[in-house]
Assembly symmetry: C2
Homo-oligomer: 382 residues x 2
C-alpha cells in the first residue's frame, strides 16, 4: 500500500460526516484522503476531489484510478461495481464479500446464524400471510425491516398486524429484482450495546471497550463509554461477539456491532455497520486511537493503534435537529463559554428536525458527571 513516494492515497465514497471526520487523522498521519461526494457542499467538502453518483460505474471507476484503496462513508455502493473494481486490481475495504452482509439484513442474519452468533428470532418473508404467522407466533407484535437501504430508524417498523407492512410488500412486488422483508421478534431488552472492532486485511484486529448506546425514536442520542458494568459476563460476551463477527465476515476497516442486552442476560446482535459508526465518535477524544484514524490505518493495511481509553469515562451526545437559525457555530458564543471542557463537533449541516448535525463529547473521571456535562453542552443547540 505504501508507495515508494511515501504517499498513501485513500479514496472515500460518500461525502457525509463520517468522511468528514476521517480528514483530521488523515492530515495528522500524512495520508492523502480524497472523497467522492454525491453533491457539492456536503459535510466532507474540505476533502472532496470528485462529485458524482456512486451508483454510476464509470464515475466510481474514474475516481478509483486516482487512489490506492477505496473505502466508504456509507454502505450503499452497489456490489457489482465494487466487485468489478476488485477485478480491475483496485483494493476495496471492506471487501464486497464482507460488505454484502451490511448491505442486506437477510444475508446478515443467515451468516450470523451460520457463525453461531446469537440473534433475535427472525424470518425472511415474502407476503402478508407469512408476516401474520410470525406475529402470531411471537406474542402479537414484531419488527419488520426492509432488507436494504435502511438507516437511523428508517426501514424499521414495529407492527402488530400484517397490514402494517402492506406498502413495503407492494413496493417489493413492483421491484424487478423481487426480494423479501426481514421480520424479527420484538426483543425485551434492558439496554443496547455496541462493540467497535477494527481489522486489517492481514487479520490484525483491535477492539475498543464495549459502549452503551441510548436511542431516541430509532436514532442514536447518547453513547456511554465504556458501558457501565451491569453484568460483566454480558460485556465479555459482547466483546467476544464483536471479534467473531469481524473475523467470520472477513471485515476490513472498522466494524460496529450493535447489540441488545436482554432482560434474561443474553446478548443478541441487532445491526452491523462496516465503517466508522456513531457509537464510536467518543473515540476522537476518548481513545488513544480514534475509530477514524483506525479505519484509515486498517484500510491502508497499516498496523493498528492502541484503543485504550484516555480517561475513565467518555460520553457523546448527538446534536439532533440543531439550532433553528443555522449550523452549530451560531450558538458557539454561549456554548463554548459555558462548557470549556466539552469538545464540539459541527458537521456543517443546515438544521432539519431529527437530523444529526453534530455531536458533543466530554471525557473525565466520573461517568455520571461527564454525562451530565455532555448533555448540558449539547442542549445549548436545541
Amino acid at each position: 500500500m505504501v508507495e515508494a513516494s511515501g504517499r498513501i492515497r485513500i479514496g472515500v465514497i460518500g461525502g457525509g460526516q463520517l468522511a468528514r471526520m476521517m480528514v483530521p487523522p488523515a492530515i495528522h498521519l500524512g495520508l492523502q484522503l480524497s472523497v467522492l461526494a454525491e453533491a457539492e457542499g456536503m459535510s466532507a467538502a474540505r476533502a472532496v476531489d470528485a462529485v458524482g453518483d456512486y451508483r454510476d460505474p464509470e464515475t466510481v471507476y474514474a475516481f478509483a484510478e486516482t487512489v490506492d484503496v477505496i473505502t466508504f462513508d456509507h454502505e450503499h455502493v452497489p456490489s457489482e461495481i465494487l466487485r468489478e473494481l476488485e477485478c480491475r486490481g483496485v483494493a476495496v475495504h471492506p471487501r464486497p464479500d464482507a460488505l454484502q452482509f451490511a448491505q442486506d439484513k437477510i444475508l446478515m442474519r443467515e451468516k450470523l446464524e451460520e457463525l453461531g452468533v446469537p440473534v433475535p428470532s427472525w424470518a425472511a418473508i415474502s407476503d402478508e400471510a407469512e408476516l401474520q404467522a410470525f406475529i402470531e407466533k411471537h406474542g402479537g407484535r414484531a419488527v419488520v425491516k426492509t432488507a436494504r437501504g435502511g438507516y437511523d430508524g428508517k426501514g424499521v417498523r414495529v407492527v402488530s398486524d400484517a397490514a402494517g407492512a402492506r406498502d413495503w410488500f407492494a413496493a417489493l412486488a413492483e421491484d424487478a429484482r423481487g426480494g423479501r422483508l426481514l421480520v424479527e421478534e420484538l426483543v425485551d431488552f434492558t439496554r443496547e450495546l455496541s462493540q467497535l472492532v477494527a481489522r486489517r486485511p492481514s487479520g490484525e484486529a483491535r477492539t475498543w471497550p464495549v459502549v452503551e448506546t441510548i436511542q431516541l425514536d430509532g436514532v442514536c442520542a447518547e453513547v456511554l463509554a465504556p458501558a457501565p458494568v451491569a453484568n460483566p459476563v454480558t460485556l465479555d460476551e459482547a466483546a467476544r461477539i464483536g471479534r467473531v463477527v469481524a473475523d467470520g465476515l472477513g471485515v476490513t476497516g472498522v466494524l460496529a456491532v450493535e447489540m441488545f442486552e436482554t432482560r434474561d442476560g443474553r446478548v443478541l446482535v441487532n445491526e452491523l455497520a462496516m465503517r466508522p459508526h456513531n457509537s464510536g465518535h467518543f473515540s476522537i477524544e476518548g481513545s488513544v486511537t480514534s475509530q477514524f484514524e483506525q479505519h484509515l490505518r486498517a484500510v491502508a493495511d497499516l498496523p493498528l493503534g492502541d484503543t485504550a481509553m484516555t480517561a475513565p469515562a467518555a460520553v457523546m451526545v448527538n446534536v439532533l435537529g440543531g439550532p433553528a437559525e443555522g449550523p452549530m457555530p451560531v450558538r458557539y458564543a454561549e456554548a463554548l463559554a459555558a462548557h470549556p471542557r466539552a469538545k464540539f463537533h459541527s458537521y456543517d449541516k443546515q438544521p432539519r428536525p431529527g437530523r444529526k448535525v453534530g455531536h458533543v463529547t466530554v471525557t473525565g473521571q466520573d461517568l455520571a458527571q461527564v454525562r451530565q456535562a455532555a448533555q448540558a453542552a449539547a442542549r445549548v443547540f436545541d
Copy 2:
C-alpha cells in the same frame, strides 16, 4: 464574528505545518479555514484556497476579502500590508501593533524592558566597534541576532569577536532601510522553558502548563509537558511572565514565550512567537484544548477552551530530517507496529537534513517512560 449563516471564515497566511495543523480543529468545530500558501503542494495543501506572495499587497487584500479574520502561519507578512487591512475593516489577529514585537527582536526587547519583564542584558548595535565593546563587557562572548527574519537557529550566532558578524553588518549597510543587530549576553542557563498563552480580543486569556523545551543546534528537539518541577518558584514566574507579555503586548491568538531558566534561579525571556508554536504541539493529544483549536477560537473571538492536561505527562519529539527515502509514511509499517500508543504527525514534507518533517507525541502517567517511548518512536524515522 459569527455571521447569521453560522459560517466563521478564518484565513491563514502561510501554508506550512502550523496552518496544516489548524485544519483538524477547524473541521471538528465547523469553522471555515482558508489558507493563502506561498506555493502549490505545501504542507497545508488540503486547506489551500489561494496561492501567492504574502509580500504582495494585492494578493493579500484579495485573499482577505474571502474571509472574516486573517491570522498567520508565520510572522513575515509586512506590517504595512496588515495595517492597511485593518484600515479596510478586516479583522487581523494578532493585530499588527502586537505582531511587530514578534517581527523585530529589538522592538521586542525594548517593549519587554518597558513592561518590567526580565530579559538577558542586550544592546542594539550598528557596527563592529559597538559589538566588540559589548563582547568585552560580557566575558568575551555574546549572542548576535538579526532583528528580523530569523527562525530555528537561523539569524542567531555566538561570537567571541566582532568580525564574526561582519557579513551581517555589511548586509545592513546595503539595505536602504538601514537597521541594527541585537546583541545579548550568553546566558548561563540550566534549561529552557516555554509558556503558551491564548488571548481573545476581548481580553480573555488561558495558559497551558509551562513546558521544558530541549534544543539541538538551535532547533527544538523535544518538549516535556508539564516541565518537571526543579524549582516551583521559577515555574510560577514563567507563567506570570507569559501572562504579562500577552496582556502587555495586546496579543490575540496563541503566544509562545520562550525562556531561559538560569543557574541562579531567574527566568529570562529569550524569544516570542505569536502563533501556534512547536513547544505546543504536545497539546494536540496532551491538552483538553490544543493550541491549534485555541488559536482558531481566539482569533475568531470565541470563548476559549480548558487547557488542562489529558494525562499527567506528554512528550513531543520532533522528526528532524526524516527518512532518506521520503515522507514519514514510508516507515509506518515499522513505526506503527512497534509503537501503538504513539501519535504520529507527518507534515507531508520531503526529507532534508535538519528539516522539521513531523513529530511524535506520547502521553501517559510517568514522564520518564513517556519520554523514552516518544524518543524510540521518533527514532524509527532517522
